[in-house]
Amino acid sequence: MNMVNIKINNRDIKVAKGTSILNAAKEVGITIPNLCYHPDQEVKANCRVCVVEVEGARTLQASCATEVKEGMVIRTNTQKVRQSRKVVIELLLANHDMDCISCKKNNQCGLQEIAANIGVRESRFENVLVKQEIDTSSPSIERNPNKCIRCGRCIQMCNDVQGLAILDYVGRGGSVDVKPAFGMYLNSAACVACGQCSVVCPVAAITEKEDIEQVWEAINNPNKTVVVQTAPAVRVSLGEEFGLEPGKIVTGKLVASLRALGFDKIFDTDFTADLTIIEEGHELLQRLKEGGTLPLLTSCSPGWVNFIEQYYPELLPHLSSCKSPQQMFGALAKGYYAEKIGKKPKDIYSVSIMPCTAKKFEAKREEMSVDGENLDVDVVLTTRELAKMLRQAGIDFNKLPEEEYDAPFGLASGAGVIFGATGGVMEAALRTVYEVVTGKTLENLDFMAVRGLEGIKEAQVDLDGTIVKVAVAHSLSKARQVMELIKEGKADYSFIEIMCCPGGCIGGGGQPFGGTDELRIKRINAIYEADKGLPIRKSHENPAVNKLYEDFLIKPLGEKSHHLLHTTYMNRKK
């Protein structure tokens, strides 16, 4: 590697050519404060917090945007630098509502943290904030322009990763805002509610729509049996909220924490993920056999379902009719479990803990109701909201014991767990479809070709002489590429898994703030580790799922399945 010699704060170091000053400083243990910089995004250099002195330069230099050069002499903490950073933070605060106490991101805010670290307690400038309406139109995310620092991280996420461009800069100069075109509400714009903007927002300008209070009410209502399901991806990220190493698997503590909060039954969405594989696998086989519309597209990611309904409705026949695991669970909770325990659907309060903001939208779709009156999933909480509830209840997460899920929806296979990572649904499906079709035992369960962070992945399997080509895509910019291939007739795949968020659900819009690729890889590794550690790793071998078919559903794609586990879609082009 090409190295250059530089001096940072009188310390001589060698760093790789092309390194930014910001990252070079990190190597010698100096954190340069920054707000708009994000390691996975293009450098924006607009917040101007990370400025440093570079010998010979006329002005201070943004360390995120300045590459080191041989012989460069850098000072990160001079009086000039300190003063400039302080003024910049004060300027931001002077156009901000300064309402930290009631802020949803109190103690999790980049601006607050830097202000505290550099010693800004109040702004010497007059507050010029012109209060704007908070956009609460979306059931998934909330946009509070009074907190926005115009850093543009959300814009890059929405534009470059998701390819949607719902958010952009509007206006110029002092009146620049970040909002949908023409100031539209989020629910009128063609937003898919993925919440990726909220993951990268350093302040509280975009957050999840908070639904915690309703859950407290239900838990405290003696007439309600409150059941909760936990998505695969939550168990590998929740620990981050409590200072644990990213990628730490906290399944047992997660279950214990929910019990401690007062939920009556703790179930696992992985169970219905297994169920999804059985149903979707058979749907695929049926389409292959009967010449149905191919490629079949997965339907478990609600941000992705929103995308195809709004942007490619002409391709809806490709979409699997299977509900997502969350909604399969909800339907079973109200349409099966309620009766099983002698209750009416309305007496069951069904909560789900999801890494996702679009799930909040999905749960509110009116067709997601088995009795036509009550929603199958009453409330969706994100990973972040669950962490908040635990903090509110004063539960010391790290001291919790490891506990087990409740029956009958607590047992899951490794195939259900890997739903949380991009490629996981495909891998789970292949494990089952292979054995169902060939009748043989699959030797190697690990389909490495569909794993990892590459945007579009391909694989093929030999089903007793029939070669089936499959593909996997994550993030909507990649989904769009795949949709275009299908439209051009160039997608010669039988089955395609699409996840809305980068990395799959582990990178979901409801996951802990500040997600980066580095973090996503750690969570993905944890997901596969969890899979490896389970005694059952194929959905069709999950005895609880098989029992459900025996006792109730009878057979995949059967009448009961059709009623409870499958759905229809609509053209929602905007």
């Binding site: 007059e126 010029v128 100069g173």
Partner: protein, 425 residues
């Protein structure tokens, strides 16, 4: 000294002599001869002539033109682009408009020579939207140049292909900043970005791009015609050639003048501009435009010479000279300047976007008579931050006039402080 001794008509020699709509008249007045000369040389030879000439950019920053041409010609990447910055949004400037309206082919010839030197095949002339007349004249001139074989394929049988078109901005000031200008051509919002990398390596569509001001390009044919060495004899050691100055404000004869670099500002004001109406005293003079420094009357003997001026932390910028007599309200002038930048800021970076709003509030406190010592202290800290930490020249230069007023006319502020309260800031 008469006018004749101060003015030197080189770039303006054909003004009102030829019909700008006629390429034939341009050709009959020595037009396109430099291009023919250039085409008998190699690119390196042309660039070398420009380096010998010592020409520096006329848009305000004063970067050596030969070095810029060399950087583009040596940069990796294809295609390369050449862009003429004719956005001329800086208040007080109107020289580029005249250069385009009075002698469009001089500009076109200069651009073609530079394109030939760096083997560039595509170019744009980015003209501010308000310059409707200049846009029409340039478009017509480009078409004539095409018809006459100076643009298009195989120019003058040299095997060199080059064409360009007019791109009209929508009148945003910041689009004169080269990156904001570039992204506008790409169809994006006109917002500045960080540098380096400079456009010479990563420019339009991320390709190497040469961007120069109108006046800079207009010098090129003269360098080719007289040779770099001869050109370098005009002006001073550190500032070669002539300069178009835009004289305005409280002046008897405002207008456009071409002078040899090295003349004093006082000579320009008194000999060319005939002084201030009614012989009033000069309070201050602003150089370069709204983003430029102001100087008091007793500094007017300073010469248009980059070395001499830089000693005082000054520069002549793009050549505007705005004269203000003793009737002006200095703070009112500063407020107008800051209002202008506040309106024109792209809003991308914090110091400029938020800082200009705060500067206006603080200046208001002085004019409202409620300012304190703290206000003055925080104003100065704010301006230093804007100057040091803004992402582009707009935010960096916006406080310049105010900073210079505090340097030369501090009493304008301290007289208005209405309180003795002092908290250490």
């Amino acid at each position: 000294m008469s006018n004749k001794e101060i003015t030197k008509n080189m770039l303006t020699a054909r003004f009102d002599v030829i019909n700008p709509d006629s390429i034939d008249e341009y050709i009959s007045h020595n037009g396109y001869t430099a291009l023919k000369k250039a085409m008998s040389k190699t690119g390196e030879e042309i660039i070398s002539e420009v380096k010998i000439a010592g020409l520096k950019g006329r848009g305000g920053a004063g970067f050596p033109t030969g070095l810029k041409m060399e950087a583009v010609s040596q940069a990796d990447g294809s295609p390369k682009y050449i862009i003429c910055n004719a956005d001329e949004g800086e208040p007080g400037n109107f020289k580029d408009r005249y250069l385009m309206e009075k002698d469009p082919h001089q500009l076109i010839e200069g651009i073609i020579i530079c394109a030939f030197a760096a083997n560039i095949n595509n170019g744009y002339i980015f003209i501010r939207g308000e310059y409707i007349n200049a846009i029409n004249i340039m478009e017509k001139a480009l078409e004539q140049a095409r018809v006459n074989g100076y643009l298009g394929d195989n120019i003058l049988d040299s095997g060199f292909n080059f064409d360009m078109e007019v791109y009209s901005g929508a009148g945003s000031y910041v689009c004169g900043e080269e990156f904001a200008l570039l992204v506008t051509i790409e169809g994006k919002q006109g917002r500045a970005t960080y540098k380096p990398p400079f456009p010479t390596t990563v420019g339009l569509y991320n390709k190497p791009t040469q961007i120069n001001n109108v006046e800079t390009f207009c010098n090129i044919p003269h360098i080719l015609n007289m040779g770099g060495k001869e050109f370098s004899k005009i002006g001073t050691d550190s500032s070669k050639g002539t300069k178009l100055v835009c004289l305005s404000g409280n002046i008897v004869n405002p207008g456009l003048y071409e002078v040899e670099l090295g003349v004093s500002i006082r000579d320009i004001i008194e000999k060319l501009g005939k002084g201030v109406p009614n012989k009033r005293a000069i309070k201050m003079v602003q150089l370069g435009g709204a983003s430029g420094p102001v100087i008091p009357e007793n500094m007017l003997d300073i010469k248009l010479d980059s070395k001499e001026m830089s000693k005082l932390n000054l520069n002549y910028g793009s050549g505007a000279i705005i004269v203000m007599d003793d009737r002006i309200d200095v703070l009112d002038i500063l407020k107008r300047i800051i209002e202008f930048f506040h309106h024109e800021s792209c809003g991308k970076c914090t110091p400029c976007r938020e800082g200009l709003t705060q500067m206006l509030i603080l200046l208001d406190r002085f004019t409202d008579g409620i300012a304190t010592n703290d206000d003055l202290a925080i104003l100065e800290i704010l301006m230093e931050t804007m100057n040091q930490s803004s992402i582009c020249g707009l935010g960096q230069a916006a406080p310049t006039a105010t900073q210079k007023v505090l340097e030369y006319f501090r009493e304008e502020f301290t007289n208005k402080i209405n309180s003795t309260d002092s908290i250490v800031v």
